[in-house]
């Protein structure tokens, strides 16, 4: 399938796939902004994300063409690295690119009815343009091989995100403080990151990540490197909503336009985690003794704290979107736990859970967008009886919810199982109990929503029977069925995660 699509693309285009992937949204974003009509801008965004998706598939096929994973290095403007900027695609990049572009494409297909309902007409074209910039930034982060370039793309996407979140204010005024909070925190995170990169540059004189990795080995023990490491870890931790630096996330997710919530929940934190993994295992590597101890003393406790505390918080929320937002932070905890094991199995499980989480949260928030469209409210009481009045939407929601809980035959079960397996392999049996407990809490908080939707009578008995439009239902069901597909036949997705994790450890410590 992948190779088939890739073979349809002419080779003259395929060699430029890395840059085209980022260029398509970059060029179409200003064009979309100039469009007088929001609908045309929407179609342009589908075109842009679709092009990127095809390019991501081409890249994946190229990477997988060699056993063990090829590394595609694309020199921007023909300038050779380390001086020139390089786009560097290996198994990990191609995996995360497929995730972003796939979700981005589905999101831009489904978004229109939701945008019409929530954004004023005059702003729609600009809104779609901002979405494309955000999308482009995320793709750029996932492609670039240059540390400073990564910062630029990260900030591009973040700046667009602040605007997008703030636009939720026409539905709920609380979007404005949420956006300001996010802006401040995001900026702190970005500054930390750039300070860290600065330290590394001062010591090594290079910004290319592959080159950094080599030179850092030679530098050896150096306090500036330590400081750079700490700044980068915390900076990216803020972007990835690592507990306790997650507090920008619930409000931003709860009050931004439904479509943006769905897109951000499925991609934004994932990209930050990708960047973290890239720095942890490629740039620094386990040869640095301090890294191992920071994994065990910082990343793992924070991951576990998130799994417990945020699951509890999710269980007490009265708004469905906030419940899911807190659950996202808890799920980030699972990923960090897997990564903190620093074994191939552990990182692979973390990445696998990341992919699956994009599938389930994407479906959940998409279903919520459909509900907001037809029934407005998102409090738990508003969800009462929805199972009867919008069965297709809520069934897809229920499938994704079961996947989030980790019921067998769903994606969530597969990745949790992989995580448990990795934990056992590293001898951390006690952490397995934490995973189980946190899953039990997931039963509680998702169970409350499902109970309200399927077993309670609606508060307003006159609520009429109304489904979300087909343009929402189809992408929603694609994601929901993907959850089951991965759960039953998960080889492809877990293979992606395994390859990605393996590529990190090639020639490395383990």
């Amino acid at each position: 399938m992948i190779d088939l699509i890739a073979s349809l693309v002419p080779s003259s285009i395929a060699v430029h796939a890395p840059i085209l992937l980022v260029l398509a949204p970059m060029i179409l974003a200003p064009v979309a902004a100039l469009m007088p009509n929001g609908r045309i801008a929407w179609l342009l965004s589908i075109l842009a994300t679709g092009t990127s998706l095809v390019m991501a598939i081409v890249l994946l096929s190229q990477v997988r063409s060699i056993d063990g994973g090829a590394i595609i290095s694309y020199h921007i403007g023909g300038w050779a690295p380390p001086a020139g900027i390089e786009f560097r695609i290996d198994a990990l990049n191609s995996m995360i690119l497929l995730l972003i572009t796939g979700i981005g494409f589905l999101a831009s297909v489904f978004c229109w009815p939701s945008v019409v309902a929530e954004i004023r007409e005059a702003k729609r074209a600009m809104f779609m343009a901002a979405f494309l910039i955000c999308f482009m930034g995320l793709c750029g982060v996932a492609s670039t091989g240059d540390a400073f370039n990564l910062f630029v793309f990260l900030e591009l996407s973040s700046l667009a995100t602040y605007v997008l979140v703030a636009l939720g204010s026409s539905r709920d005024r609380r979007a404005l403080p949420a956006a300001i909070n996010y802006l401040l925190m995001g900026t702190i995170g970005a500054s930390f990151f750039v300070v860290g990169v600065g330290f590394l540059y001062a010591v090594t004189g290079t910004l290319n990540m592959a080159d950094l990795a080599v030179r850092l080995q030679d530098v050896g023990d150096n306090k500036a490197v330590l400081a750079g490491y700490a700044f980068i870890l915390v900076g990216l931790g803020i972007k990835a909503a690592m507990f306790p630096l997650h507090q920008w996330l619930p409000n931003a997710y709860a009050y931004s336009p439904s479509f943006i919530t769905m897109f951000l929940a499925a991609t934004a934190t994932k990209v930050a985690i990708y960047a973290m993994v890239r720095f942890l295992f490629t740039v620094f590597g386990l040869d640095f003794t301090f890294e191992g101890s920071s994994l065990i003393w910082i990343l793992m406790p924070m991951g576990i704290a998130a799994m417990i505390a945020c699951s509890f918080q999710a269980a007490f929320q009265t708004d469905v979107r906030r419940t899911l937002a807190y659950s996202s932070v808890a799920q980030v905890g699972y990923m960090l736990l897997g990564i903190s094991l620093a074994t191939t199995a552990g990182v692979s499980a973390g990445l696998f859970h990341m992919l699956n989480h994009a599938l389930m949260k994407g479906a959940l928030f998409m279903a919520i967008a459909g509900i907001v469209l037809t029934y407005k409210g998102t409090s738990l009481n508003d969800f009462r009886g929805l199972g009867r009045s919008a069965p297709w939407t809520m069934t897809a929601f229920a499938i994704a919810a079961l996947s989030l809980i980790g019921v067998p035959l769903t994606a969530g079960f597969q990745s949790k199982y992989a995580l448990v397996d990795a934990l056992f392999e590293s001898g951390w049996s006690w952490a397995v109990a934490v995973v189980m407990f946190s899953s039990l809490l997931a039963v509680v908080y998702m169970g409350r929503i499902l109970e309200a939707a399927f077993f309670r009578a609606p508060i307003n008995p006159n609520k009429k029977h109304k489904e979300a439009p087909l343009v929402i239902l189809i992408p929603l069901w694609i994601l929901a069925l993907a959850n089951i597909w991965v759960g039953v036949q998960g080889g492809f997705v877990s293979g992606l995660a395994n390859d990605a994790a393996a590529s990190l450890f090639i020639g490395g410590a383990r």
Partner: protein, 585 residues
């Protein structure tokens, strides 16, 4: 096509058909589906090769054996299939898509679990039984049923989680998920898996979900529920824990303790639920006999035969009570009585079920239970043997006599209702036929030898003679004395009355300490139960308040200027990382 179909686990076929049934609006088509699928599955099962992995799959690098038949799983699967067919007939008068579909899917899940060849597959279907069965309780539609269903679901999921935890330990330790019997509790995962099975089998102190949920289910639901969940657990024990000594004692206790509760209970479906515990106790006890990891062939035969017979006659009893509930709207002993005139056929079938469960010679219970008793006697476990004997008398008392007597005879309630619908009678008639057919000593493959031929160790079973003089006489003595006791107690007004509020003569109580004890423990339970619940509730409320004060939107974690605290946290974390990193260097 044939080859493909032959590889299909019949349980999975039934799950799929059940799910499809939930969607079929036409009642006729759905009912045909419900009736045909078990028969087709039975055909598939009967042609399946024994002892080989018929179909295998792979999820995430785990090799799963989706379908494997051997003599132990075969008899359980056959019993489940028969039960599922009878249940479908019993449900023909209703038109409830969800109930029909879920009943079939639930049966399918139990069968698929029985026919699975590895722990992971077992776990997956184990969970599906939990999820699909809960609908059968929910469909009763009452608030009590809803709450019981949620408690039931919680307990069942807990069992699944324990099983999963256990199997990951097994897998990490051995690298294999084979269904190999454990030989001791020291093996990794053994204790967890044991606990998971124990919950599902409703061991003492883990049994409450059963009496809680089953009597609150729908008419059909209770019949369906009675067949599968606990017997699946019995199968699982026979597969993984044969010959574990502790099972003998747990089983023996399990046979005895429900007797007291069943005798004083007023709701007859609850009486049947207690007697379900008691019956499962016999099977568990039999599984425990023999050497650890192997068991005793005679006793395992006994457990399997008992499970087979039990599924049919317990289903029959629940069916008859369901018919009564359907017609009169109640199963309270105090509100029933004298129904034999209005419901003659139901009465006859109920009595056949009652005689089977009491193990009258020539009924199915006798040929099954004798084996267990013999095996226990062989091992020289006198105390256990006596406990089982006492329990047998108890069974007769509460299931064999109490159920039919209070419903169909006893004081006349004045209720004059129609006989049960024809499809219910047909289902009960077929079940009654099986109860008698497998209890009779007929020649060559008919009668009880048909059942014995299907047992896990058919050679041992065929060599066993249930109808020896000693067996028959012992059993008859027991039965006659128990009936006599009941009649005497009834005559002197001593039997715990069906009407709550009748005062017993204390002076007689003193002279019959057995029933005194039953009455006393009932009172204590009634007093202590709520008190314990109240304490638990208070503790739970306190914990909840603490959690709420911390985590809720108005709680401590959410208070304070967001940005301030977060900026502070970033600084704190940065310092922490620096510290860790510096220390490590």
């Amino acid at each position: 096509m044939n080859a493909l179909l032959g590889q299909l686990n019949p349980g999975i076929l039934m799950i799929l058909a059940g799910l499809a049934g939930c969607l079929v609006k036409s009642r006729r088509i759905r009912q045909v589906l419900m009736l045909v699928t078990p028969i087709l599955s039975l055909v598939l099962l009967s042609v399946a090769a024994r002892g080989v992995d018929i179909s295998a799959g792979s999820i995430m690098g785990l090799d799963l054996v989706l379908y494997r038949v051997d003599s132990l799983s075969f008899i359980f699967a056959v019993a489940f299939l028969i039960a599922s067919f009878l249940n479908a007939i019993y449900a023909l008068h209703t038109d409830d898509r969800l109930q029909d579909g879920m009943a079939l899917a639930y049966a399918g899940a139990a069968i698929a679990a029985t026919l699975s060849g590895d722990l992971m597959t077992l776990f997956i279907f184990w969970e599906i039984t939990a999820v699909s069965s809960v609908f059968l309780i929910l469909r009763a539609g009452t608030k009590a049923a809803y709450q019981a269903a949620m408690r039931y679901l919680g307990v069942q999921i807990l069992s699944g989680v324990l099983l999963l935890y256990g199997l990951t330990q097994v897998y990490t330790a051995t690298g294999s998920l084979n269904l190999e019997a454990f030989t001791s509790f020291d093996q990794p995962g053994a204790k967890l898996i044991f606990a998971a099975f124990a919950i599902k089998a409703a061991f003492p102190f883990m049994h409450n979900w059963l009496q809680d949920a089953y009597p609150k289910a729908t008419v059909i639901g209770a019949v369906v529920l009675s067949a599968f969940t606990t017997k699946l657990a019995v199968y699982a024990f026979a597969r993984l824990f044969p010959g574990f000594d502790v099972l003998i004692w747990i089983g023996a206790v399990m046979t005895v303790f429900p007797v007291f509760f069943a005798v004083i209970e007023n709701d007859l479906r609850k009486v049947l639920s207690y007697s379900l515990n008691n019956q499962v106790g016999f099977m568990i006890c039999a599984i425990g006999v023999g050497t650890a990891g192997i068991g005793s062939q005679l006793a395992l035969n006994g457990a399997a035969a008992h499970a087979f017979a039990h599924i049919i006659y317990k289903g029959l009893l629940f069916m008859s009570m369901g018919a009564v509930l359907y017609r009169t709207g109640t199963t309270k002993a105090s509100e029933l009585g004298g129904l034999y005139k209005s419901m003659p056929w139901t009465t006859v079938f109920c009595i056949i079920g009652a005689m089977s469960i009491s193990a009258f010679p020539l009924f199915s219970g006798f040929v099954a239970k004798s084996m267990t008793m013999s095996a226990v006697a062989h091992e020289g476990l006198t105390v256990v043997w006596l406990m089982l004997l006492f329990a047998s008398a108890g069974v007769l008392e509460h299931s064999g006599i109490k159920i039919p007597y209070f419903t169909f005879f006893g004081h006349d309630s004045g209720k004059r209702v129609k006989e049960a619908p024809f499809n219910m009678l047909l289902a009960m008639g077929l079940a009654a036929f099986i109860c008698i057919a497998i209890g009779l000593p007929l020649v060559g493959g008919f009668g009880y030898t048909w059942l014995y031929g299907m047992l896990p160790y058919p050679d041992v079973a065929m060599a066993y003679q249930p109808f020896t003089l000693a067996h028959v006489v012992t059993q008859l003595q027991l039965l006659v004395l128990a009936i006599l006791a009941f009649m005497l107690l009834k005559r002197f007004g001593l039997y715990p009355p069906e009407r709550p509020g009748t005062i017993l003569d204390t002076d007689w109580l003193l002279r019959k300490p057995g029933y005194g004890f039953a009455k006393w423990s009932g009172t204590v339970w009634n007093k202590a139960g709520p008190a314990m619940t109240a304490v638990a509730m208070r503790l739970a409320a306190q914990t909840y308040n603490r959690l709420e004060a911390t985590f809720s939107p108005r709680g401590a974690l959410a208070r304070g200027g967001l940005t301030n605290s977060m900026a502070l946290w970033s600084a704190v974390l940065l310092g922490l990382v620096m510290l860790v990193v510096l220390l490590a260097n």
